[in-house]
Symmetry: D2
Subunit: 392 residues, 4 copies
Amino acid sequence: MTTFGPLFVPAPFRDGVSDAAWLDAMLRVERALASALTKTGIVPASAAAAVAERCDPSLYDMNELCEAGRSTGNPVEPLVRALRARVGAGDARYVHYGATSQDVLDSAAMLLARGIRSLLDTELASAAAACARLAEEHRATPMAARTLLQQAVPTTFGLKAAAWLLALLDARARLARLELPAQLGGAAGTLASYGERGLDVLRQFAAELELQEPLLPWHTDRSPVAQLAAALDAAADAAAKIGLDVVLLAQTEVAEVSERDGGGSSTMPQKQNPVRAALARACARGVHAQASLLTSGDHELERAAGAWQAEWNALSSALALAGGAVTAIRECLEGLQVHAKRMRANMTDGLLAEHRAFAEREGREAGDDPMAYLGSADAFVERALTRFRESR
Amino acid sequence: MTTFGPLFVPAPFRDGVSDAAWLDAMLRVERALASALTKTGIVPASAAAAVAERCDPSLYDMNELCEAGRSTGNPVEPLVRALRARVGAGDARYVHYGATSQDVLDSAAMLLARGIRSLLDTELASAAAACARLAEEHRATPMAARTLLQQAVPTTFGLKAAAWLLALLDARARLARLELPAQLGGAAGTLASYGERGLDVLRQFAAELELQEPLLPWHTDRSPVAQLAAALDAAADAAAKIGLDVVLLAQTEVAEVSERDGGGSSTMPQKQNPVRAALARACARGVHAQASLLTSGDHELERAAGAWQAEWNALSSALALAGGAVTAIRECLEGLQVHAKRMRANMTDGLLAEHRAFAEREGREAGDDPMAYLGSADAFVERALTRFRESR
Amino acid sequence: MTTFGPLFVPAPFRDGVSDAAWLDAMLRVERALASALTKTGIVPASAAAAVAERCDPSLYDMNELCEAGRSTGNPVEPLVRALRARVGAGDARYVHYGATSQDVLDSAAMLLARGIRSLLDTELASAAAACARLAEEHRATPMAARTLLQQAVPTTFGLKAAAWLLALLDARARLARLELPAQLGGAAGTLASYGERGLDVLRQFAAELELQEPLLPWHTDRSPVAQLAAALDAAADAAAKIGLDVVLLAQTEVAEVSERDGGGSSTMPQKQNPVRAALARACARGVHAQASLLTSGDHELERAAGAWQAEWNALSSALALAGGAVTAIRECLEGLQVHAKRMRANMTDGLLAEHRAFAEREGREAGDDPMAYLGSADAFVERALTRFRESR
Amino acid sequence: MTTFGPLFVPAPFRDGVSDAAWLDAMLRVERALASALTKTGIVPASAAAAVAERCDPSLYDMNELCEAGRSTGNPVEPLVRALRARVGAGDARYVHYGATSQDVLDSAAMLLARGIRSLLDTELASAAAACARLAEEHRATPMAARTLLQQAVPTTFGLKAAAWLLALLDARARLARLELPAQLGGAAGTLASYGERGLDVLRQFAAELELQEPLLPWHTDRSPVAQLAAALDAAADAAAKIGLDVVLLAQTEVAEVSERDGGGSSTMPQKQNPVRAALARACARGVHAQASLLTSGDHELERAAGAWQAEWNALSSALALAGGAVTAIRECLEGLQVHAKRMRANMTDGLLAEHRAFAEREGREAGDDPMAYLGSADAFVERALTRFRESR
């Protein structure tokens, strides 16, 4: 899925979007369809059983299916042929009954998305927990706030961590809210083959897959894909923002944080490369590129000639790389070393100048303790921590 | 804002993101801040009154402010200077008290977004109503569904319009759900100048602007901007999908729809250019390009050195062009001529082949009436219309 | 063209892509066409004179043309109508003779691009000269090279400036190499109205405009636009890379460079915001967003229904913002303060560790002078300066 | 590399960017470095021999290297460690001598790019030849030109194929012109370890790899990557434009072309899906998404913390998918069925209206033969064919 995959993307995420995962998901969809059709009385129960028995991924060679798919434009058509051949003459006609390739692929995509979402949720929860610990622990750790990368006025590391935390919680909530609908419309989106029972089949099919029932087939209304992509992009972006800050704070000249296992070098012992922060940023760039493709819904009429097919690779990459970004930042946060003394030492005299000027104008005495100039910093930290506690 | 603006973007949308609109919004923000600070007892009431009186856009020259802003990196700093000069020595210190330029610009951006959202809502509602009429009227108008632009099986124009309708309703709901938060954090996001009263000021400030109160300042957590951009992109994309279908159905050889006032030509009378559909697609491409920038949240530490400044133009363009896309598609839909006879005439014999084959396998007689093969098409239309009715 | 235009984009660049500039360019194209047709004997000389006389921008109201263009999809059709009305019955038929709207708009776009390219060339040359001075002056100014923002081993500021210089020279050369072709094909790209003389007209027309003669009309082969966009993106990107480095080196904790007129603050005197660097980065993000649109050549058949129309605004923005990026970085470089002592002081002990280890393994004595470990740094500077001298 | 790889990307392209190909290329780079260092007298010849012997990809486990690379941020560091271990104590120090990870990865990337470029060149040449045949064969095949997808005036299929041809030739020439430079700078871009002999090593190293010698190391001047990405995007885009036209001309209602082995369906025999055209478009979208990432050169100081690492996957995908796009369109063109009769039959009466009106105004008789109104169409075809002949 990605070059040097294990470097960027942990195995569960790689496995979750592999071609094997797609094959497995497509077969789960075919099985769910047969089951739904049996339950709605459209195909005999024997057919559903026969289909279910042959929906075993080990029976199929994904490479062959993809090669064969070159002449049909997708891997479902050859898969259905192979599945029908295995089911045999009697029930072959009930395989993929009334469905279209896109029904299978789109539903399979949503199954993969659901799996990755679950993995992302765990990672985001852990990353948020690590942020919450940092925010709590450093409520009273003053440091310089930097605007345009110039020291401005004091803040606390706790507040910085609180802002990271909030972004992670937002990303997690957004993923959780995502609608991941089943797809079933048949060739034209009319469920023509099911007569009066179309809506029943659709409901049952979605229930079998534990996906949401869509109001209408969404063959060329790609809003579910676009919203998924935007949510993945947001999650990766939250990770990348933390990564950016860590990279900046870990600079040799700033040295306010470091990664526990900073990528070192035998010959350059002074280097503590913020490797996980960099990996998170790298992955997020990849997600962002794919999100641009996946939010471009120019799909023609009832099925797109290119725009749809482009989604499979883009979605797999976006799902995997979002996993890479979030995992890297979780690791980064869990091992983040915060150097409070250095934070204090870095604070320049000028940092309090604005406050001194204020005080002077107001006839007050201005002290030298940055803690006296933190305004609502701690109150904001408390707000973020409260949101965190509620999120669990 | 855009080249050939009146061609693409109706005046209210252009006006809503003009530099004059930004100036007006920035002044509204300064006024709201002074008012909030008075109500929370931080500045004297006389100051709020003095500020309010000078927050009159006609007193300032936006061109000069922007020229002056070149050396400070934004137009707020010169505006505050000018405002302070007008307020005069006594209360000048209460102008922009405790705020930072980004507080003003981000809050102003949200005010502009709110204004455009309201305009978009009206346009989307009208476009949806036009779609609903088409869906209702053409529930029983059969036509060929086309996959990969090849005729596949029958559908109805009503179902096609219902799918367009649903996408418009989704886009509208998504915009309505958007959180448009006020921004107030002061130089470091700590509201340092307000002592213990920071959260009160924030609440009051947001209330004055009728914007949402954020949990934390979001100077470098750009999620509100990203979600706004994604929602604008989705709205423009819904318009562009309709535009794409209209362009395809309006082709000379298909001729199933036409725009009422198709862009004609005195020398090529056969041409009925689907001009509004094309304009909607053009605008949507522009929104999509800006959305990619606006969803890229790599803002450094407490204020970005470039990424933030890049948002102003991108957001203005995205807001304006989303307006252009949705308005063009509303006009397109309101004037859409549907040629039901041609739809019927275009249907090839092969279109029923799949159904005939099905019927044969099942020992049924297969008729030649496409209306017999529409499955749940009408039920889907009803679902979309129900959603539409509920949306009003 | 851009929000807060004067803040980001100097007047010559803004003027060069304004609607007035487009109008002027469209009229120059109509005049050139009439002239070319006269010289090739297709229309009478009186017609060319009549057209030329009425091709005065002050005679037309761009706003009205754009409003009228809403129903035809572009501003050329109303402009031609207005021009014909002014030319009067006799020669009206020779106005825009045999041309199509896209011929006029695409040729006008290339005229605008040529104008902006010339402005960019001057700015890039000045920016390169400033870089060359810095490179020359700091050939022997050691500083820490930073990888992943960690100090690595020594380099010189001269080498850094040399790398910036080379990127600017490359960007300039790439712009200079650009082919900016005239567009003339008539409605279908066949020059049908000129009979046997089509190629003569095309050659003459291109010559009149001093644009390149294309091999074929390029109505839907958007390579010229894509290459222009890529070259603008590259120029802006070269500026943004310098901006990024300046922002990083200007950080309070690094303080190795500063902008001469750093955006200061009366209340935060310690701040020397790298404003021009930030503006360059902001502009470059805008160019990059538009470049993505402009390199997407999915234009249908003989004229696109949306993709073409989307180019006008995107191209104007990309041209203007490229100007903004390059100008800002030129100003930044011309005023860049280099703090050689601080560079030396910032160098950590670890910086020589790799070299010491090397020396030790090789049984050599390792000194403490970073100048002893600069390898080919100076030779590389010389290479870049040589290229610079050749470029003038 | 891509989901359902064999469906989209032929094996040679997949193999050319696989992790195995990267490993092989990285080892070729290490070997070339040792060889260059021997030839320049920096390391003993025995070392080069020892390194060369161990630069056998079968000795290394790419998966392990990538896992190990997670803590160093790239796979080169673990590879060098493994290589050193195999070379053994004596010469281990000469492995990767004076180089940095980025030297190896960037040079390896250029080797991969060179391999894919060669494959692309062959495919583009074949696609161009197929276009040339179509252009030649259909010089006198009239058809409707379509603007905004409305029939406009007559053209020939030959001219359409000639325009496709020219775009393919341009894309091919652009790829051929690409500079693919070696990368060698050492940790800071100074070649510090080679003393006075740095430039000699660089020249020799580039020669060994048959890559271009760069003027300066380009660790954070990503112009070579950006230009490569733009050229890949242009090649895929040329394919996608052809694919778009084929999809449109192959529509059921137009039926002017069809793919020889159109993706059919047993149940919908009327369908002749333009599968290869759709695949080309799908691949091109993927290339375009990655090109946006790869042309974004915001790499910090002497090595980027994220932006560089993001390139590996993006570049692999772009290279592979460009191969997919061009191969699909080559197959499409080689098997394209052109239905000249249908082209003639589709031409509406209105198509000649403009010409009739012209003739009438000029007092000429207007005939009904579209061939009489083709202007320079054939001359343009000849121009494109001449360019084609010269390109071989």
